[in-house]
């Protein structure tokens, strides 16, 4: 029987079938890492996307190459919610080691698809159970034993498609795109999908309430991970020098960027208009970034927590000697090595004030993949305009997971290369003072090495210096520089991206969040309204220093809940540093910090509790 013509028998009388749950549930695939389930999960995600249903996927993986449990969660949401869903509705239990725990963790009414030999029926009677002989089905379609581990994943794709009414044509399209020009791989994988699909139709009876039905909500949208989006930002910002050291979860920023640069930045003579260098450590990576920025290149690195700690000394030099550079910090769970493959927003304070002495750094806070791209571009403009290191603070959840997005727009303004004097400028001016505030914005003029003019050179140093860049230990000259840097900070406040504000002007309660806490807040605000009758206004931070709009928002509300993914309420602390004493008491925190992406339910309950509900 050909796939697509079979249909799963349904149990019309079952209570589950009576209340169908359509396009609003989560699927969790539990596998062993190294088993190659990534392609299968990606196909499931893209097939649901292909049906026009808003979808998001999260990979929860161990810091390991092979053999430890890994979970991939796909959420279909007709409402467009893309945060992690608090509970799992459909489990695909492929990992014998975690199957029992995974099954016991399900809420009543959930469904479990599992390798029949695991006998999960013994643990639960209040969920829908679908035993499938995966190994047998796989062996039948895949004569090559070495490939069976991989092909087995495609069998569950077929089973899931049949049980949840996933459009098999959308699955086929996703399989073809995934394996692109490799026809043999397409054939093998597609036959595995069909085997699962047909088996389910002939042998299983649908008893769960979860259904996928076509929608029209993904038309024109793209799916991309935040790290690739950030790399695209760097590409369209015209990055020229990239120095890096591999570290999870930032590595894929550079890997994606290398691919993009090779495709788009090799000139007709075969030569590259870029340089990418893998450094010996993060100390060297940031040193190279600053060396290149000093010499006039658009330079960047990407790193995560431990790398950020190592970059502290050089970052202080960048701040004090005023050298542009862009650092993508894809945050993971700390402290120390922490949980390298889990997500968190816990580098806010350490990055904002990275290095000794009075330092502070511009942070951009992308809240979605589109902003990873847009902030990626803005970061380079800001770094050169402000002559300082600029950090883009993303996280593992945003960086390494696939997200739906509107397509990215081509930049509508040219690159801002900042205040750089040429030899012609120097002919006209006669000379310049590197660290003098000529324009009243706290930003001096610089020259690049190689500028062909006898007055072009200046001496860059991390030691005390005066307006003319000469060595100085004079208290007065030091003060002039430190205060000018503060003025520059105020200029930065006016140049960074504005916060995103959603308000009705009536609510007394404001929520402030940033980064990947955003999708959870979007959903949480709906829950608060419908379940607790709590109306909230919402401001999403997109940068530090905070724009005036942030202070206005706080001033116009009685209580402010700052939602973030760390233990120590780091962004709330940063806000308090800037607030008037009378405003500080307004701030409360709702926090999530177990390494998993934040879910709406956790935030809703915390906020409602603090509101006495």
């Amino acid at each position: 029987m050909a796939s697509g013509e079979v249909a799963l028998k349904e149990q019309p009388a079952s209570p589950a079938a009576q209340k169908r749950i359509v396009n609003d549930f989560s699927i969790q695939v539990a596998t062993v890492n190294g088993s190659g389930s990534q392609s299968a999960n990606s196909i499931l995600l893209k097939a649901i996307f292909g049906m026009g249903i808003p979808v998001s996927g999260k990979n929860l993986f161990p810091s390991n190459i092979s053999g430890l449990p890994t979970w991939f969660t796909i959420r279909a949401s007709k409402h467009g919610y893309v945060a992690r869903k608090h509970n799992v509705d459909v489990l695909v239990a492929m990992n014998p080691d975690s199957a029992k725990d995974d099954t016991l963790a399900l809420e009543p009414g959930a469904a479990a698809i599992f390798e029949a030999s695991l006998n999960l029926e013994q643990y639960r009677s209040d969920i829908s159970l679908y035993p499938v002989p995966f190994d047998k089905l796989t062996a039948a379609v895949c004569p090559e034993p070495k490939l069976r581990k991989l092909v087995k994943n495609m069998v569950y794709v077929g089973v899931v498609a049949q049980i949840l009414h996933l459009d098999i044509k959308a699955v086929e399209a996703a399989v073809r795109k995934q394996f692109a020009r490799k026809q043999k791989a397409v054939d093998l994988n597609w036959s595995a999908v069909q085997a699962g699909y047909d088996y389910a139709a002939e042998n299983l009876v649908k008893v769960d309430p979860f259904y996928l039905e076509p929608m029209n909500a993904t038309e024109g949208k793209i799916i991309i991970d935040g790290n690739t989006a950030a790399a695209m930002g760097a590409l369209f910002a015209g990055v020229t020098v990239v120095a890096w050291y591999p570290i999870t979860p930032s590595t894929s920023v550079i890997e994606a960027l290398i691919d993009l640069l090779k495709r788009h930045r090799i000139e007709a003579d075969g030569k590259a208009s870029f340089a990418v260098l893998q450094a010996e450590d993060e100390l060297a990576a940031i040193g190279m970034v600053l060396g290149a920025g000093w010499a006039g290149a658009r330079s960047m690195t990407a790193t995560s927590g431990p790398g950020i700690s190592l970059m502290a000394e050089f970052t202080g030099l960048g701040y004090w000697a005023e050298i542009p550079g862009v650092i993508f910090n894809v945050q993971r769970t700390g402290p120390s090595t922490g949980m390298p493959t889990r997500t968190m927003q816990a580098d806010v304070l350490s990055t904002a004030f990275l290095s000794h002495g009075d330092t502070r750094h511009v942070l951009l806070l992308p809240g979605n993949v589109k902003e990873c791209y847009e902030h990626g571009i803005a970061a380079f403009d800001l770094a050169e305009r402000l002559q300082t290191p600029v950090f883009v603070l993303s996280d593992l959840d945003l960086g390494m997971n696939n997200w739906m997005s509107d397509p990215f727009q081509y930049p509508d303004k040219p690159l801002d290369r900042g205040k750089v004097l040429t030899a012609e400028d120097l002919n006209r001016l006669g000379g310049f003072s590197r660290y003098k505030d000529v324009d009243g914005d706290g930003i001096g003029y610089r020259t690049l090495p190689g500028t062909d003019h006898p007055a072009a050179a200046y001496f860059t140093r991390g030691s005390g210096h005066n307006e003319k860049a000469a060595y100085s230990e004079k208290p007065g000259e030091y003060l002039v520089q430190m205060q000018r840097l503060l003025k520059k900070w105020e200029t930065a406040r006016t140049l960074v991206p504005k916060p995103v504000i959603v308000q009705n002007g009536k609510s007394k309660i404001g929520i402030i969040a940033y980064g990947t806490t955003d999708p959870a807040i979007v959903e949480s605000r709906d829950q608060l309204r419908s379940e607790y009758d709590i109306e909230t206004d919402y401001l999403r931070l997109t940068a530090y220093p905070f724009s005036q709009e942030v202070f206005d928002f706080i001033a116009s509300h009685e209580r402010i809940y700052v939602a973030e993914q760390n233990r120590d309420a780091q962004m709330a602390s940063l806000l308090k540093l800037d607030l008037k004493p009378s405003e500080i008491g307004k701030l409360r925190s709702i926090l999530h910090y177990n390494g998993l992406p934040v879910d709406a339910r956790s935030l809703t309950e915390q906020l409602a509790r603090q509101e006495g509900k």
Binding site: G220, I222, I223, I224, M232, L235, F236, A237, G238, T240, V241, A243, E267, D269, G270, K271, A272, S273, F274, A275, L277, E280, L283, A284, A285, G287, M288, V289, L290, G291, A292, G293, W294, A295, G296, A297, R298, S299, E313, F314, L317, P407, F408, Y410, P414, T447, L448, P449, G450, T451, D452, P454, A456, A457, Y458, F459, T460, R461, G462, S463
Partner: protein, 346 residues
């Protein structure tokens, strides 16, 4: 009596007086070896007619790293952080590969805190001149041993060094530097010739210059003192350098001299003073260094030179123009490129 007009200052081949190669007044101690090295750099660049704007000076932290302020004021300079100048130089050269990079470091800056970056710069054969002003002691913090201090050498306080020294020259040869030499700040002739040749080299030039610290390490018992060097300096060969803009005359007995044709057309002639000397043989160079050290000699000279080699900059296969100043039309892909990526992601 003839009237005297104002004397015209002597200018070099690009029309600049030596003044244009000078820097600020030194703030190092009188008699510091580092000052002599700065003087040799000034003379060398003046004589070679190097355009100051074509040079970038780079340094780390320490007495040595201050010295770029004392020569070549018309060149951009970057006094960075302790031990990590190589990374800054690497970035700067990636941004503008057409510049001449001149690094000044010290024994602490290179052999202790900076060992990590020192090693990787050599490994990449980064095209720059890297000078270690080596006095075996931390000067700015008032006299602690560095990692190049010899076993048995003493501090002024009487403390004896028990740990073996790191030989930066042996290391550099093993790691991939393509021009490795040692000199003594007091040997004007040798150092000048070496520096001239260095400016003609493509690849990492690593010159360790023993440069006595008159304040903290010039006493009896120090192996980095003027007195010790005058007694124990053992030149491995005699160098003669003919820049590319001068005619080469042959006036030596064949078989006694190594002729090295430098990348830019200059010629370096290395006359044997030592039986086993062969500046093209890495293994022999390293064993000579080890043997001489065992004999309490300080071997000086150009130990190893490989005039044609691939550098990290070559490997990057960059466009001819400096990346730093490429126009937007060459660095930002077109709207069509973005549209194509977007279509693929749908």
């Amino acid at each position: 009596m003839a009237t005297t007009s104002a004397p015209t200052p002597k200018v070099n081949r690009i029309g600049l007086p030596v003044l244009d190669y000078r820097g600020n007044k030194t703030t190092l101690c009188a008699g510091c070896g580092h000052n002599a090295i700065s003087e040799r750099l000034i003379d060398t660049m003046f004589e070679l007619g190097i355009k100051p704007e074509h040079v970038m000076k780079l340094s780390g932290i320490g007495c040595s790293s201050k010295s770029p302020a004392y020569f070549l004021n018309r060149a951009h300079s970057f006094n960075s952080v302790h031990g990590r100048m190589p990374s800054v130089a690497t970035g700067a050269l990636l941004a503008n590969k057409n510049m001449l990079a001149l690094g000044v470091s010290g024994d602490g800056d290179s052999a202790s805190i900076g060992m990590g970056q020192f090693v990787h710069m050599m490994r990449r054969n980064l095209p720059m001149i890297y000078i270690i002003e080596d006095n075996g002691v931390y000067g700015l913090t008032k006299g602690q041993f560095s990692a190049t201090a010899d076993v048995g050498s003493t501090l002024k306080t009487g403390v004896i060094n028990d740990l073996p020294p790191i030989d930066t020259c042996s290391l550099a040869i093993q790691l991939g530097a393509t021009f490795v030499a040692r000199s003594f700040s007091g040997d004007k002739q040798q150092l000048s010739t070496m520096l001239k040749a260095a400016f003609s080299h493509k690849g990492t030039v690593m010159i360790d210059v023993v440069s006595p610290c008159v304040t903290f390490n010039d006493h009896e018992g120090s192996t980095k003192s003027y007195k010790f060097m005058q007694a124990n300096d053992e030149p491995i060969g005699e160098a003669d350098f003919v820049p590319s803009f001068e005619d080469i005359e042959v006036d030596y007995e064949s078989g006694t001299v190594y002729e090295v044709h430098m990348h830019d057309g200059a010629q370096l002639r290395l006359k044997k003073l030592h039986d086993d000397y062969d500046p093209t043989d890495k293994v022999r160079a390293v064993s000579l260094l080890m043997e001489s050290h065992a004999n309490n000699e300080v071997l000086t000279g150009i130990f190893y030179v490989k005039p044609e080699s691939e550098t990290i900059i070559d490997q990057m296969n960059m466009v001819d123009d400096a990346l730093a100043t490429l126009p937007e039309s060459r660095t930002r892909p077109s709207k069509e490129a973005l549209d194509k990526i977007m279509a693929y992601l749908q």
